[in-house]
């Protein structure tokens, strides 16, 4: 049925014929008979990576196939969300090996975007923990792949934005936990220098991420809150928590009730928000034990928070720069600062070493910012792209909705190999999205 769909950024909006199947045979039939399409999970990437005239949504394909509790190996269909997986594994003493900042993504999407989390510097990306998976290829056949099995297909699928085929089954390794709580440390950094120093000082923490205020100048340039965490041991819990150490968090959710007019977010309101957010931590350092939900998924309690950016939607701009190019980070932050385009959610992290064929992370600094779509934004982001490239960085495909093809080519050095693998498994170029056409990864009709 044709309808208007968009991903999390609400930009772009496109008309799409969306299909959603419960059974593998139906999916194979669809793939054989549809002339071009893109697989889609829960629509939580930000831009146009999973948009096309025909979308094959997998959210009905969401069954758990096996769970080896003693060894922590989980096998499922691709449309199940991380939220549903957590409900099953946490009470048994297991956790996701890697999780992004929302649990409302499908596990297929986690592989297709090769998501990273606050533990990238320790545990790498999600795909690093995948043992094997099945891919429904463009010709309707199913190929099983893994690090040692059709490694080219495996590599191109991890972070490949769904372009190799439809991921149908995934088997991956979980992380052992003793409690469902996180021992959290938050430290306020007065400026960027201090933040980078703190990242270095606390690099042994499993989880680390920082919120950064992009609108401050002078001495407070880059003031931020560093958030660190470790899975809590039973001894870290208070008496009440110890009674049920693997308790699931209570479901509380608020719905963002309507779409805010676009003008509500402006330099003044964002500055005010940032000041409040920075000051809410009265002490320089806070140490406490919290459930995993507020630590990993603070925004998931507000359903539809993307409505806050207005009807025109927003772009989440995420780039990474190599660690040696700190001056690039400073320059980009200055540019954002001068422009006065601020963002509530500027998230900063230091990535570790693991790299892959088409995956986004590289060892260095990554910054993610939300910008409401408005006149002049895309020209400004093009300027930032040029800076990112100059300093040897690249842009995250899962968040992208507007990058130019040459920026992609310069940022991802293995792109030719990725494209040759795509051609090998999908010679007719059936699987493509608005993004892949825009970036000339695939050939538009």
């Amino acid at each position: 049925m044709k309808k208007e769909i968009a991903n999390w950024g609400n930009y772009p909006v496109t008309e799409s014929d969306e299909s959603n199947f419960s059974y593998l045979e139906e999916m194979r039939q669809y793939v054989r008979t549809t002339n071009h399409f893109i697989p889609r999970g829960n629509g939580r990437c930000y831009g146009d990576a999973s948009l096309a005239a025909n979308t094959l949504t997998t959210t009905r394909f969401d069954k758990i196939l096996s769970f080896d509790i003693p060894h922590g190996i989980f096998e499922c269909q691709s449309g199940i969300t991380l939220d549903q997986i957590l409900e099953v594994i946490v009470p048994k003493g297991w956790f996701l090996p890697v999780t992004p900042g929302t649990k409302f993504i499908t596990v297929g999407g986690a592989v297709a975007s090769d998501v990273h989390g606050k533990n990238h510097h320790v545990d790498g990306c999600f795909s690093h923990h995948v043992e094997e998976m099945d891919i429904l290829l463009a010709d309707g056949s199913i190929a099983t792949c893994g690090p040692d099995l059709l490694p080219d297909l495996y590599e191109a699928t991890c972070g490949g934005m769904g372009l190799t085929g439809v991921i149908t089954r995934i088997k991956f390794h979980l992380k052992k936990i003793e409690t469902s709580y996180i021992r959290q440390k938050q430290i306020k950094a007065a400026n960027l220098e201090e933040l980078l120093r703190l990242f270095d000082e606390f690099k042994d923490y499993t989880y680390s991420v920082a919120w950064i205020d992009c609108l401050r100048k002078g001495k407070a340039f880059g003031r931020s809150i560093l958030m660190l965490g470790e899975h809590a041991k039973p001894g870290d819990l208070n008496e009440k928590q110890q009674a049920a150490p693997l308790r699931l968090p209570k479901k509380k959710q608020f719905v963002f009730p309507f779409t805010l007019p676009s003008w509500v977010l402006n330099i003044f309101t964002v500055k005010a928000f940032n000041s409040l957010y920075y000051r809410k931590n009265l002490k320089r350092e806070i140490n406490n034990v919290v459930n995993y939900e507020p630590f990993f998924y603070p925004l998931d309690v507000i359903l539809h928070w993307n409505r806050g950016y207005g009807k025109k939607g927003f772009i989440q701009y995420q780039f990474v720069l190599p660690k040696e190019n700190k001056e690039g980070l400073v320059e980009i932050l200055h540019r954002i600062n001068d422009k006065g385009l601020g963002s509530f959610l500027a998230v900063f992290k230091l990535f570790g070493k693991q790299e892959s064929l088409i995956g986004f992370p590289m060892e260095g600094y990554t910054l993610a910012l939300d910008f409401p779509v408005r006149p002049g934004l895309f020209e400004f982001l093009d300027e930032l792209d040029t800076l990112v490239l100059r300093f040897g960085g690249r842009i995250y495909l899962s968040k992208d909705a507007r990058m130019k093809p040459d920026i992609l080519q310069a940022g991802y050095k293995d792109l030719p190999r990725f494209q040759s693998i795509l051609r090998k498994y999908d010679p007719e170029g059936k699987i493509r999205s608005i993004q892949s056409d825009r970036l000339l990864l695939t050939k538009p009709n």
């Binding site: 059974y23 593998l24 969401d62 069954k63 769970f67």
Partner: protein, 243 residues
């Protein structure tokens, strides 16, 4: 642990029922055509809810095998929900007897055939619960779907009679009258949002109704009143309407 038998387990409504009852501690028997394709659902129910789930091959239209099918169930279910149904194509069925016959056989004859067997067993045990998913389409024949509607009307009357009969054997029968439901069956139809229930809502309502031993429920509840009004329209007027 009590056991639920789902007849026609591959539909969206059946999947929602399986999840709901498994979450509430029931073991689940999934009966459907091509039962093997439900193996992912079987493993999912067992892993998510720590219950036991099993698959059985069952074809509503293959009456001859119904007795053997029920005999093969081990253990015998405490609760049986008849979910299968076939909307069919009204226009095609008007000129194609095979389509028309299929609508009648799946929605009425097949349901009666298997539920007779279940009912006789429950009567002999003096316990058991049967729930049948009929449809508000069976409340009054309309030009747009009277093959489906008349088969469901027959099924509703059957469930009513069966409830009367089994009451004296301590067996309870629930009739479920869903209005519009978002499922594969209705995919692509422009359904009014307010009047349309999700399969999960249907499953929740059925679970509650069984606990309270209700006789007839409508999902959503106001369908009872919508259908009441539709039934009140005099025939001389009704025949002129395009419903």
């Amino acid at each position: 642990m009590p056991t639920l038998l789902l007849l026609g387990a591959s539909s969206d409504m059946a999947v929602a029922l399986a999840q709901k009852f498994a979450r509430c501690g029931y073991d689940i028997q999934l009966a459907a055509r091509n039962a093997a394709r439900l193996d992912p659902l079987r493993s999912d129910l067992a892993i998510r809810h720590g219950i036991s789930a099993s698959l059985y091959e069952f074809d509503a239209g293959d009456f001859a095998k119904h007795a053997a099918f029920f005999a093969s169930l081990d253990p015998k279910p405490d609760l049986t929900i008849c979910v299968f149904g076939y909307l069919g194509h009204q226009q095609a069925a008007a000129s194609d007897w095979a389509e028309c016959e299929r609508i009648i056989q799946v929605n009425y004859t097949g349901a009666v055939s298997i539920l007779n067997i279940v009912a006789n067993y429950y009567a002999s045990q003096h316990k058991g619960i049967i729930a049948g998913i009929s449809s508000v389409a069976g409340e009054r024949g309309r030009q747009s779907n009277y093959f489906y509607g008349s088969a469901k009307a027959g099924f509703t009357a059957y469930l009513s009679g069966l409830r009367n009969h089994l009451y004296h054997q301590q067996v309870h029968v629930l009739t479920v009258q869903p209005g519009f439901v978002y499922t594969r069956m209705t995919e692509g139809l422009p359904l009014p949002k307010l009047l349309t229930a999700t399969p999960e809502k249907v499953a929740d309502d059925i679970y509650k109704a069984i606990g309270k031993k209700k006789n007839v429920i409508y999902v959503k509840w106001f369908w009872r009143w919508i259908m009441f009004i539709i039934k009140c329209i005099p025939e001389f007027l009704f025949k002129k309407l395009k419903l």
